[in-house]
Protein backbone atom coordinates (compact mmCIF):
# COMPACT_ATOMS: atom_id res chain seq x y z
CA UNK A 1 0.00 0.00 0.00
CA UNK A 2 2.75 2.36 1.05
CA UNK A 3 4.71 1.29 -1.96
CA UNK A 4 1.74 1.95 -4.16
CA UNK A 5 1.31 5.39 -2.66
CA UNK A 6 4.94 6.21 -3.18
CA UNK A 7 4.79 5.15 -6.78
CA UNK A 8 1.63 7.15 -7.30
CA UNK A 9 3.29 10.23 -5.88
CA UNK A 10 6.29 9.82 -8.11
CA UNK A 11 4.27 9.01 -11.21
CA UNK A 12 3.80 11.76 -13.79
CA UNK A 13 0.03 11.42 -13.44
CA UNK A 14 0.16 13.41 -10.25
CA UNK A 15 2.12 16.14 -11.96
CA UNK A 16 -0.55 16.36 -14.62
CA UNK A 17 -3.32 16.61 -12.07
CA UNK A 18 -1.34 19.36 -10.39
CA UNK A 19 -0.83 21.17 -13.65
CA UNK A 20 -4.53 20.96 -14.44
CA UNK A 21 -5.38 22.38 -11.02
CA UNK A 22 -2.96 25.25 -11.47
CA UNK A 23 -4.51 25.96 -14.87
CA UNK A 24 -8.04 25.98 -13.51
CA UNK A 25 -7.20 28.08 -10.47
CA UNK A 26 -5.23 30.59 -12.52
CA UNK A 27 -8.02 31.01 -15.02
CA UNK A 28 -10.47 31.68 -12.24
CA UNK A 29 -8.09 33.95 -10.40
CA UNK A 30 -6.91 36.09 -13.30
CA UNK A 31 -9.91 35.60 -15.59
CA UNK A 32 -8.10 36.08 -18.88
CA UNK A 33 -10.18 36.33 -22.03
CA UNK A 34 -11.14 32.81 -23.11
CA UNK A 35 -9.55 33.72 -26.42
CA UNK A 36 -6.20 33.50 -24.67
CA UNK A 37 -6.89 30.71 -22.26
CA UNK A 38 -10.25 29.15 -21.49
CA UNK A 39 -10.88 27.34 -18.22
CA UNK A 40 -10.23 23.62 -18.24
CA UNK A 41 -13.73 23.04 -16.92
CA UNK A 42 -15.17 24.97 -19.85
CA UNK A 43 -13.16 22.80 -22.22
CA UNK A 44 -14.37 19.64 -20.50
CA UNK A 45 -17.94 20.86 -20.64
CA UNK A 46 -17.72 21.60 -24.34
CA UNK A 47 -16.12 18.22 -24.96
CA UNK A 48 -18.99 16.56 -23.11
CA UNK A 49 -21.53 18.41 -25.21
CA UNK A 50 -20.15 16.95 -28.44
CA UNK A 51 -18.81 13.67 -27.20
CA UNK A 52 -20.51 11.38 -29.75
CA UNK A 53 -18.96 13.32 -32.64
CA UNK A 54 -15.73 13.57 -30.73
CA UNK A 55 -15.61 9.82 -30.21
CA UNK A 56 -16.43 9.11 -33.84
CA UNK A 57 -13.91 11.65 -35.02
CA UNK A 58 -11.29 10.24 -32.70
CA UNK A 59 -11.82 6.73 -34.01
CA UNK A 60 -11.72 7.81 -37.61
CA UNK A 61 -8.61 9.91 -37.23
CA UNK A 62 -6.93 7.15 -35.27
CA UNK A 63 -7.57 4.70 -38.08
CA UNK A 64 -6.13 7.06 -40.68
CA UNK A 65 -3.15 7.82 -38.49
CA UNK A 66 -2.28 4.21 -37.79
CA UNK A 67 -2.64 3.15 -41.42
CA UNK A 68 -0.62 6.11 -42.67
CA UNK A 69 2.01 5.50 -40.04
CA UNK A 70 2.32 1.83 -40.88
CA UNK A 71 2.77 2.60 -44.56
CA UNK A 72 5.19 5.43 -43.87
CA UNK A 73 7.23 3.37 -41.44
CA UNK A 74 7.56 0.47 -43.86
CA UNK A 75 8.38 2.69 -46.79
CA UNK A 76 10.79 4.78 -44.71
CA UNK A 77 12.66 1.74 -43.42
CA UNK A 78 12.86 0.30 -46.92
CA UNK A 79 14.15 3.53 -48.41
CA UNK A 80 16.62 4.07 -45.59
CA UNK A 81 17.95 0.59 -46.24
CA UNK A 82 18.21 1.07 -49.98
CA UNK A 83 19.98 4.39 -49.50
CA UNK A 84 22.45 2.85 -47.08
CA UNK A 85 23.54 0.23 -49.54
CA UNK A 86 23.34 2.27 -52.70
CA UNK A 87 25.08 5.57 -52.58
CA UNK A 88 23.80 6.21 -56.03
CA UNK A 89 20.21 5.79 -55.02
CA UNK A 90 20.82 7.98 -52.02
CA UNK A 91 22.30 10.75 -54.09
CA UNK A 92 19.69 10.59 -56.81
CA UNK A 93 16.48 9.94 -54.87
CA UNK A 94 17.16 11.53 -51.52
CA UNK A 95 17.13 15.11 -52.81
CA UNK A 96 13.69 14.39 -54.26
CA UNK A 97 12.57 13.28 -50.82
CA UNK A 98 13.74 16.58 -49.44
CA UNK A 99 11.88 18.39 -52.18
CA UNK A 100 8.76 16.38 -51.53
CA UNK A 101 8.82 17.38 -47.89
CA UNK A 102 8.75 21.03 -48.80
CA UNK A 103 5.60 20.66 -50.84
CA UNK A 104 2.77 22.00 -48.72
CA UNK A 105 0.17 19.28 -49.03
CA UNK A 106 -2.48 21.65 -47.76
CA UNK A 107 -2.01 23.71 -50.90
CA UNK A 108 -2.78 20.74 -53.09
CA UNK A 109 -6.00 19.51 -51.63
CA UNK A 110 -7.54 19.43 -55.09
CA UNK A 111 -4.77 17.19 -56.41
CA UNK A 112 -5.10 14.84 -53.44
CA UNK A 113 -8.83 14.55 -54.11
CA UNK A 114 -8.28 14.07 -57.83
CA UNK A 115 -5.72 11.31 -57.23
CA UNK A 116 -7.16 9.54 -54.22
CA UNK A 117 -10.80 10.60 -54.19
CA UNK A 118 -12.94 11.47 -51.18
CA UNK A 119 -11.78 8.32 -49.49
CA UNK A 120 -9.95 7.02 -46.49
CA UNK A 121 -7.00 6.49 -48.79
CA UNK A 122 -6.57 10.22 -49.33
CA UNK A 123 -6.08 10.82 -45.60
CA UNK A 124 -3.86 7.80 -45.24
CA UNK A 125 -1.72 9.14 -48.04
CA UNK A 126 -1.30 12.55 -46.43
CA UNK A 127 -0.34 10.85 -43.17
CA UNK A 128 2.06 8.62 -45.05
CA UNK A 129 3.55 11.59 -46.78
CA UNK A 130 4.58 13.23 -43.53
CA UNK A 131 5.70 9.97 -41.92
CA UNK A 132 8.18 8.40 -44.24
CA UNK A 133 10.82 11.11 -44.23
CA UNK A 134 11.95 11.07 -40.59
CA UNK A 135 11.90 7.28 -40.65
CA UNK A 136 14.07 7.26 -43.76
CA UNK A 137 16.59 9.68 -42.31
CA UNK A 138 16.84 7.83 -39.02
CA UNK A 139 17.09 4.43 -40.66
CA UNK A 140 19.80 5.71 -42.92
CA UNK A 141 21.72 7.16 -40.01
CA UNK A 142 21.22 4.08 -37.87
CA UNK A 143 22.41 1.67 -40.53
CA UNK A 144 25.37 3.82 -41.46
CA UNK A 145 26.62 4.19 -37.92
CA UNK A 146 27.26 0.47 -37.61
CA UNK A 147 30.65 -0.22 -35.98
CA UNK A 148 33.16 -0.91 -38.80
CA UNK A 149 35.14 -3.32 -36.64
CA UNK A 150 32.05 -5.42 -36.04
CA UNK A 151 31.37 -5.37 -39.75
CA UNK A 152 34.91 -6.64 -40.30
CA UNK A 153 34.34 -9.40 -37.77
CA UNK A 154 31.18 -10.54 -39.51
CA UNK A 155 32.99 -10.43 -42.82
CA UNK A 156 35.69 -12.66 -41.43
CA UNK A 157 32.98 -15.19 -40.67
CA UNK A 158 32.08 -15.06 -44.33
CA UNK A 159 28.76 -13.36 -43.68
CA UNK A 160 26.97 -12.32 -46.84
CA UNK A 161 25.14 -9.02 -47.09
CA UNK A 162 21.84 -10.46 -45.99
CA UNK A 163 23.21 -12.10 -42.87
CA UNK A 164 25.22 -9.00 -42.11
CA UNK A 165 22.10 -6.94 -42.48
CA UNK A 166 19.88 -8.96 -40.20
CA UNK A 167 22.37 -9.99 -37.59
CA UNK A 168 24.40 -6.84 -37.27
CA UNK A 169 23.02 -3.84 -39.11
CA UNK A 170 19.42 -4.15 -37.98
CA UNK A 171 20.11 -4.52 -34.26
CA UNK A 172 22.67 -1.72 -34.42
CA UNK A 173 20.25 0.58 -36.19
CA UNK A 174 17.16 -0.34 -34.24
CA UNK A 175 17.50 2.27 -31.48
CA UNK A 176 17.90 5.06 -34.01
CA UNK A 177 15.04 3.74 -36.15
CA UNK A 178 12.80 3.76 -33.11
CA UNK A 179 13.63 7.42 -32.59
CA UNK A 180 12.53 8.07 -36.15
CA UNK A 181 9.29 6.24 -35.54
CA UNK A 182 8.63 8.24 -32.40
CA UNK A 183 9.03 11.48 -34.31
CA UNK A 184 6.96 10.13 -37.17
CA UNK A 185 3.93 9.04 -35.19
CA UNK A 186 3.08 12.64 -34.28
CA UNK A 187 3.56 13.72 -37.86
CA UNK A 188 1.31 10.96 -39.06
CA UNK A 189 -1.45 12.30 -36.84
CA UNK A 190 -0.89 15.78 -38.19
CA UNK A 191 -1.04 14.39 -41.71
CA UNK A 192 -4.33 12.66 -41.20
CA UNK A 193 -5.88 15.72 -39.55
CA UNK A 194 -4.79 17.94 -42.42
CA UNK A 195 -5.96 15.30 -44.88
CA UNK A 196 -9.42 15.59 -43.41
CA UNK A 197 -9.60 19.15 -44.61
CA UNK A 198 -10.01 17.90 -48.13
CA UNK A 199 -13.72 17.30 -48.15
CA UNK A 200 -14.06 14.92 -45.23
CA UNK A 201 -17.13 14.88 -43.01
CA UNK A 202 -15.91 12.92 -39.99
CA UNK A 203 -12.77 13.29 -37.93
CA UNK A 204 -10.87 15.51 -35.57
CA UNK A 205 -9.56 17.52 -38.50
CA UNK A 206 -13.11 18.35 -39.55
CA UNK A 207 -14.00 19.45 -36.05
CA UNK A 208 -10.85 21.51 -35.96
CA UNK A 209 -11.79 23.27 -39.19
CA UNK A 210 -15.29 23.93 -37.95
CA UNK A 211 -13.99 25.38 -34.73
CA UNK A 212 -11.54 27.61 -36.55
CA UNK A 213 -14.14 28.77 -39.02
CA UNK A 214 -16.64 29.75 -36.35
CA UNK A 215 -13.98 31.09 -33.99
CA UNK A 216 -14.96 28.57 -31.33
CA UNK A 217 -11.85 28.88 -29.20
CA UNK A 218 -13.03 26.44 -26.58
CA UNK A 219 -13.82 23.84 -29.23
CA UNK A 220 -10.39 24.42 -30.65
CA UNK A 221 -8.95 23.45 -27.30
CA UNK A 222 -11.16 20.38 -27.14
CA UNK A 223 -9.81 19.17 -30.47
CA UNK A 224 -6.27 20.04 -29.47
CA UNK A 225 -6.63 17.97 -26.32
CA UNK A 226 -8.06 15.10 -28.31
CA UNK A 227 -5.13 15.23 -30.72
CA UNK A 228 -2.67 15.49 -27.86
CA UNK A 229 -4.23 12.53 -26.14
CA UNK A 230 -4.14 10.41 -29.27
CA UNK A 231 -0.56 11.41 -29.97
CA UNK A 232 0.53 10.63 -26.44
CA UNK A 233 -1.23 7.25 -26.51
CA UNK A 234 0.39 6.24 -29.78
CA UNK A 235 3.77 7.50 -28.63
CA UNK A 236 3.43 5.60 -25.38
CA UNK A 237 2.58 2.45 -27.26
CA UNK A 238 5.63 2.91 -29.43
CA UNK A 239 7.86 3.56 -26.43
CA UNK A 240 6.55 0.35 -24.89
CA UNK A 241 7.36 -1.61 -28.02
CA UNK A 242 10.78 0.01 -28.05
CA UNK A 243 11.54 -1.11 -24.52
CA UNK A 244 10.69 -4.62 -25.61
CA UNK A 245 12.75 -4.44 -28.75
CA UNK A 246 15.81 -2.51 -27.59
CA UNK A 247 16.59 -3.87 -24.16
CA UNK A 248 20.37 -3.93 -24.26
CA UNK A 249 22.67 -1.29 -22.87
CA UNK A 250 24.47 0.83 -25.41
CA UNK A 251 28.18 0.31 -25.83
CA UNK A 252 29.89 2.62 -28.22
Amino acid sequence: MNDFLQRAVRSPALAFVGLALVWEVCVHAFAPSPRYLPALSAIAQDAWSVWPQLARGFGRTLLETVLGFAMGALFGCACGTVFTYSRWMERSVFPLFVVSQTVPVVAFGALIVIWFGNSLLAKVMTAFFLTFFPVTVNTLRGLKSCDPQRIALMKSFGANRLVMFFKLAVPSALPQVMVGLRVAIGLSLIGSVVGEWFGETVGLGVMLMEAMNADLVVRLWVVMFACGLMGALLYGLLAFVERRLVWWRSES
Binding site: Q149, L153, S156, F157, A159, K167, P171, V246, R249, E251
Partner: protein
Protein backbone atom coordinates in the same frame (compact mmCIF):
# COMPACT_ATOMS: atom_id res chain seq x y z
CA UNK B 1 66.64 -25.31 -31.49
CA UNK B 2 68.29 -23.47 -34.32
CA UNK B 3 68.32 -19.78 -34.86
CA UNK B 4 67.74 -18.98 -38.49
CA UNK B 5 68.27 -15.73 -40.22
CA UNK B 6 65.24 -14.32 -41.88
CA UNK B 7 63.99 -15.87 -45.14
CA UNK B 8 65.06 -19.37 -44.23
CA UNK B 9 62.19 -21.80 -44.73
CA UNK B 10 60.29 -23.54 -41.96
CA UNK B 11 61.00 -27.23 -41.41
CA UNK B 12 59.31 -30.38 -42.68
CA UNK B 13 56.74 -30.51 -45.47
CA UNK B 14 57.47 -27.04 -46.69
CA UNK B 15 59.86 -28.08 -49.41
CA UNK B 16 57.48 -30.42 -51.16
CA UNK B 17 53.93 -29.06 -51.05
CA UNK B 18 53.12 -25.37 -51.61
CA UNK B 19 52.83 -23.58 -48.26
CA UNK B 20 49.35 -23.03 -46.90
CA UNK B 21 49.96 -19.33 -46.72
CA UNK B 22 52.58 -17.24 -48.40
CA UNK B 23 53.18 -13.53 -48.14
CA UNK B 24 55.43 -11.95 -50.71
CA UNK B 25 56.62 -8.41 -50.09
CA UNK B 26 53.46 -7.31 -48.35
CA UNK B 27 53.13 -3.61 -47.48
CA UNK B 28 50.53 -1.50 -45.75
CA UNK B 29 50.65 2.24 -45.45
CA UNK B 30 48.06 4.42 -43.76
CA UNK B 31 47.37 8.08 -44.35
CA UNK B 32 48.91 10.54 -46.75
CA UNK B 33 52.10 12.58 -46.89
CA UNK B 34 52.98 14.01 -43.48
CA UNK B 35 50.50 11.89 -41.58
CA UNK B 36 51.68 8.70 -43.27
CA UNK B 37 52.20 5.64 -41.12
CA UNK B 38 53.91 2.65 -42.64
CA UNK B 39 52.41 -0.14 -40.59
CA UNK B 40 53.77 -3.17 -42.48
CA UNK B 41 56.72 -3.07 -44.81
CA UNK B 42 57.92 -5.78 -47.13
CA UNK B 43 56.84 -8.80 -45.18
CA UNK B 44 57.81 -12.17 -46.66
CA UNK B 45 56.42 -15.17 -44.93
CA UNK B 46 55.61 -18.82 -45.57
CA UNK B 47 53.45 -20.88 -43.34
CA UNK B 48 53.00 -24.59 -43.90
CA UNK B 49 49.82 -26.46 -43.25
CA UNK B 50 49.61 -27.59 -39.65
CA UNK B 51 52.20 -25.19 -38.36
CA UNK B 52 51.79 -23.22 -35.14
CA UNK B 53 53.48 -19.88 -35.63
CA UNK B 54 53.64 -17.23 -32.95
CA UNK B 55 54.25 -13.58 -33.67
CA UNK B 56 55.82 -11.19 -31.21
CA UNK B 57 56.92 -7.60 -31.56
CA UNK B 58 56.80 -4.23 -29.93
CA UNK B 59 53.44 -2.62 -29.41
CA UNK B 60 52.26 -0.74 -32.48
CA UNK B 61 54.61 -2.48 -34.88
CA UNK B 62 51.97 -3.74 -37.26
CA UNK B 63 50.98 -7.19 -36.02
CA UNK B 64 47.26 -6.61 -36.02
CA UNK B 65 47.49 -4.91 -39.38
CA UNK B 66 49.23 -7.95 -40.79
CA UNK B 67 46.50 -10.19 -39.39
CA UNK B 68 43.81 -8.01 -40.86
CA UNK B 69 45.39 -8.42 -44.25
CA UNK B 70 45.73 -12.17 -43.94
CA UNK B 71 42.10 -12.45 -42.81
CA UNK B 72 41.10 -10.59 -45.95
CA UNK B 73 39.70 -7.61 -44.08
CA UNK B 74 42.24 -5.11 -45.25
CA UNK B 75 43.66 -5.06 -48.76
CA UNK B 76 47.47 -5.04 -48.80
CA UNK B 77 49.10 -2.29 -50.82
CA UNK B 78 49.70 -3.19 -54.43
CA UNK B 79 53.41 -3.90 -54.04
CA UNK B 80 53.19 -7.51 -53.00
CA UNK B 81 50.90 -10.49 -52.96
CA UNK B 82 49.25 -12.94 -50.67
CA UNK B 83 49.00 -16.61 -51.66
CA UNK B 84 46.76 -19.19 -50.10
CA UNK B 85 47.62 -22.75 -51.03
CA UNK B 86 49.82 -21.35 -53.77
CA UNK B 87 46.98 -19.32 -55.30
CA UNK B 88 47.16 -15.52 -55.19
CA UNK B 89 44.21 -14.10 -53.31
CA UNK B 90 42.40 -11.04 -54.40
CA UNK B 91 40.63 -8.64 -52.06
CA UNK B 92 38.34 -10.32 -49.65
CA UNK B 93 38.66 -13.78 -51.15
CA UNK B 94 39.82 -15.12 -47.83
CA UNK B 95 36.70 -13.99 -46.01
CA UNK B 96 35.04 -16.93 -44.36
CA UNK B 97 38.05 -19.20 -44.80
CA UNK B 98 39.98 -18.10 -41.76
CA UNK B 99 38.87 -18.09 -38.16
CA UNK B 100 39.97 -14.76 -36.85
CA UNK B 101 39.91 -13.44 -33.32
CA UNK B 102 40.40 -9.67 -33.25
CA UNK B 103 42.24 -7.88 -30.48
CA UNK B 104 39.10 -6.18 -29.18
CA UNK B 105 36.40 -8.66 -28.25
CA UNK B 106 33.64 -6.99 -30.34
CA UNK B 107 30.82 -8.82 -28.63
CA UNK B 108 27.33 -7.76 -29.71
CA UNK B 109 25.62 -6.04 -26.80
CA UNK B 110 22.20 -7.34 -27.81
CA UNK B 111 23.26 -10.99 -27.73
CA UNK B 112 23.72 -13.17 -24.69
CA UNK B 113 26.98 -14.97 -24.01
CA UNK B 114 25.62 -18.08 -25.70
CA UNK B 115 24.32 -16.22 -28.73
CA UNK B 116 27.53 -14.28 -29.11
CA UNK B 117 29.44 -17.53 -29.07
CA UNK B 118 27.35 -19.08 -31.85
CA UNK B 119 27.46 -16.03 -34.07
CA UNK B 120 29.80 -17.57 -36.62
CA UNK B 121 27.83 -20.81 -36.64
CA UNK B 122 24.65 -18.88 -37.32
CA UNK B 123 26.35 -17.10 -40.18
CA UNK B 124 27.30 -20.49 -41.55
CA UNK B 125 23.64 -21.42 -41.48
CA UNK B 126 23.60 -23.93 -38.65
CA UNK B 127 20.19 -24.11 -36.95
CA UNK B 128 20.27 -21.98 -33.85
CA UNK B 129 19.16 -24.76 -31.55
CA UNK B 130 21.94 -27.06 -32.59
CA UNK B 131 24.51 -24.29 -32.45
CA UNK B 132 23.40 -23.35 -28.97
CA UNK B 133 23.75 -26.89 -27.79
CA UNK B 134 27.27 -27.13 -29.06
CA UNK B 135 28.18 -23.86 -27.42
CA UNK B 136 26.48 -24.71 -24.16
CA UNK B 137 28.59 -27.83 -23.84
CA UNK B 138 31.73 -25.72 -24.07
CA UNK B 139 30.77 -23.14 -21.45
CA UNK B 140 32.23 -24.95 -18.40
CA UNK B 141 35.53 -25.49 -20.10
CA UNK B 142 35.74 -21.77 -20.68
CA UNK B 143 34.81 -21.00 -17.10
CA UNK B 144 31.53 -19.53 -18.20
CA UNK B 145 29.14 -22.07 -16.71
CA UNK B 146 26.04 -20.30 -15.52
CA UNK B 147 26.67 -17.25 -17.65
CA UNK B 148 24.94 -18.51 -20.80
CA UNK B 149 22.21 -15.91 -20.57
CA UNK B 150 24.24 -12.96 -19.36
CA UNK B 151 24.77 -9.96 -21.60
CA UNK B 152 28.26 -8.65 -22.39
CA UNK B 153 27.95 -5.63 -20.10
CA UNK B 154 27.50 -8.03 -17.20
CA UNK B 155 30.84 -9.74 -17.77
CA UNK B 156 34.36 -9.10 -16.56
CA UNK B 157 37.10 -8.23 -19.03
CA UNK B 158 38.53 -11.73 -19.03
CA UNK B 159 35.10 -13.29 -19.38
CA UNK B 160 34.42 -11.19 -22.45
CA UNK B 161 37.68 -12.36 -23.94
CA UNK B 162 36.74 -15.96 -23.28
CA UNK B 163 33.41 -15.51 -25.01
CA UNK B 164 35.22 -14.06 -28.02
CA UNK B 165 37.55 -17.04 -27.86
CA UNK B 166 34.66 -19.49 -27.84
CA UNK B 167 33.16 -17.71 -30.80
CA UNK B 168 36.40 -18.15 -32.70
CA UNK B 169 36.87 -21.80 -31.75
CA UNK B 170 33.34 -22.61 -32.82
CA UNK B 171 34.14 -21.21 -36.25
CA UNK B 172 36.23 -24.13 -37.37
CA UNK B 173 38.62 -23.27 -40.18
CA UNK B 174 41.98 -24.63 -41.25
CA UNK B 175 43.74 -21.37 -40.54
CA UNK B 176 43.29 -19.64 -37.21
CA UNK B 177 44.45 -16.10 -36.57
CA UNK B 178 44.49 -15.22 -32.89
CA UNK B 179 45.35 -11.67 -31.87
CA UNK B 180 46.40 -11.67 -28.20
CA UNK B 181 43.65 -14.07 -27.31
CA UNK B 182 44.73 -14.67 -23.72
CA UNK B 183 45.81 -11.14 -22.78
CA UNK B 184 43.20 -10.58 -20.10
CA UNK B 185 43.37 -13.99 -18.46
CA UNK B 186 45.01 -15.12 -15.26
CA UNK B 187 47.78 -17.69 -15.37
CA UNK B 188 45.73 -20.83 -14.91
CA UNK B 189 42.87 -19.84 -17.13
CA UNK B 190 45.45 -18.90 -19.69
CA UNK B 191 47.21 -22.25 -19.52
CA UNK B 192 43.88 -24.04 -19.71
CA UNK B 193 43.02 -22.13 -22.83
CA UNK B 194 46.46 -22.88 -24.22
CA UNK B 195 45.86 -26.55 -23.68
CA UNK B 196 42.53 -26.38 -25.32
CA UNK B 197 44.07 -24.61 -28.28
CA UNK B 198 46.94 -27.06 -28.62
CA UNK B 199 44.49 -29.89 -28.42
CA UNK B 200 42.39 -28.53 -31.25
CA UNK B 201 45.48 -27.74 -33.25
CA UNK B 202 46.88 -31.22 -32.91
CA UNK B 203 43.65 -33.16 -33.33
CA UNK B 204 42.32 -31.26 -36.30
CA UNK B 205 45.66 -30.46 -37.90
CA UNK B 206 44.83 -26.78 -37.96
CA UNK B 207 47.27 -24.05 -38.84
CA UNK B 208 47.60 -21.34 -36.21
CA UNK B 209 49.03 -17.84 -36.32
CA UNK B 210 49.16 -16.36 -32.86
CA UNK B 211 50.05 -12.87 -31.61
CA UNK B 212 51.17 -12.49 -28.03
CA UNK B 213 53.22 -10.21 -25.85
CA UNK B 214 54.11 -13.05 -23.53
CA UNK B 215 57.36 -14.58 -24.71
CA UNK B 216 56.94 -17.67 -22.56
CA UNK B 217 53.64 -18.23 -24.27
CA UNK B 218 55.15 -17.64 -27.68
CA UNK B 219 57.86 -20.22 -27.09
CA UNK B 220 55.74 -22.82 -25.31
CA UNK B 221 53.13 -22.81 -28.04
CA UNK B 222 54.98 -22.17 -31.25
CA UNK B 223 56.74 -24.28 -33.84
CA UNK B 224 58.30 -21.04 -34.89
CA UNK B 225 58.45 -17.63 -33.28
CA UNK B 226 58.51 -14.64 -35.60
CA UNK B 227 59.80 -11.38 -34.24
CA UNK B 228 58.50 -8.27 -35.88
CA UNK B 229 60.60 -5.15 -36.04
CA UNK B 230 59.48 -1.75 -34.88
CA UNK B 231 57.37 0.27 -37.26
CA UNK B 232 57.61 0.08 -40.28
CA UNK B 233 56.97 -3.48 -39.19
CA UNK B 234 58.61 -6.32 -41.00
CA UNK B 235 59.60 -9.83 -39.97
CA UNK B 236 62.97 -9.39 -38.36
CA UNK B 237 63.76 -12.97 -37.42
CA UNK B 238 62.29 -16.43 -37.22
CA UNK B 239 63.24 -18.92 -34.56
CA UNK B 240 62.33 -22.54 -34.95
CA UNK B 241 61.47 -23.99 -31.58
CA UNK B 242 62.33 -27.65 -31.56
CA UNK B 243 61.48 -28.38 -27.98
CA UNK B 244 59.71 -31.74 -27.91
CA UNK B 245 55.95 -31.84 -27.70
CA UNK B 246 53.83 -32.17 -25.67
CA UNK B 247 55.55 -29.44 -23.71
CA UNK B 248 55.08 -29.50 -20.00
CA UNK B 249 54.64 -26.11 -18.25
CA UNK B 250 57.87 -26.86 -16.49
CA UNK B 251 59.66 -26.54 -19.81
CA UNK B 252 60.05 -22.86 -19.02
CA UNK B 253 62.67 -23.79 -16.47
CA UNK B 254 64.91 -25.70 -18.89
CA UNK B 255 68.12 -23.96 -19.84
CA UNK B 256 67.34 -24.30 -23.52
CA UNK B 257 64.07 -22.48 -23.08
CA UNK B 258 65.73 -19.76 -21.09
CA UNK B 259 68.33 -19.30 -23.76
CA UNK B 260 65.75 -18.86 -26.47
CA UNK B 261 63.73 -16.58 -24.31
CA UNK B 262 66.65 -14.34 -23.52
CA UNK B 263 67.62 -14.01 -27.13
CA UNK B 264 64.09 -13.21 -28.20
CA UNK B 265 63.67 -10.75 -25.38
CA UNK B 266 66.81 -8.98 -26.40
CA UNK B 267 65.58 -8.75 -29.95
CA UNK B 268 62.20 -7.40 -29.04
CA UNK B 269 63.72 -4.96 -26.65
CA UNK B 270 65.97 -3.66 -29.35
CA UNK B 271 62.93 -3.09 -31.54
CA UNK B 272 60.86 -1.70 -28.76
CA UNK B 273 63.60 0.77 -27.94
CA UNK B 274 63.36 2.03 -31.52
CA UNK B 275 59.72 2.88 -30.95
CA UNK B 276 60.67 5.14 -28.12
CA UNK B 277 63.61 6.60 -29.97
CA UNK B 278 61.34 7.78 -32.75
CA UNK B 279 60.96 11.40 -31.91
CA UNK B 280 58.64 13.82 -33.59
CA UNK B 281 57.34 11.84 -36.54
CA UNK B 282 55.13 8.88 -37.13
CA UNK B 283 57.36 6.85 -39.43
Amino acid sequence: MKFMPHEVMPPAASDTAPPMLELVNVWKRFGEAQARTVAVSGVNLRIAKGEFVTLVGPSGCGKSTLFNMIAGLLPPDDDGSLLFGGVPQRDGQLLGKVSFMPQRDLLFPWRTVLDNAILALEVEGLPRKEARERARAMLPEFGLAGFANHYPHQLSGGMRQRVALMRTFLFERDLMLLDEPFGALDALTRSRMQHWLLDIWARHWRTVLFITHDIDEAIVLGDRVLVMSARPGTVKSETVIDLPRPRDPSVVLTPEFIRIKQRLLAEIEEESRKTFAQEGTAS
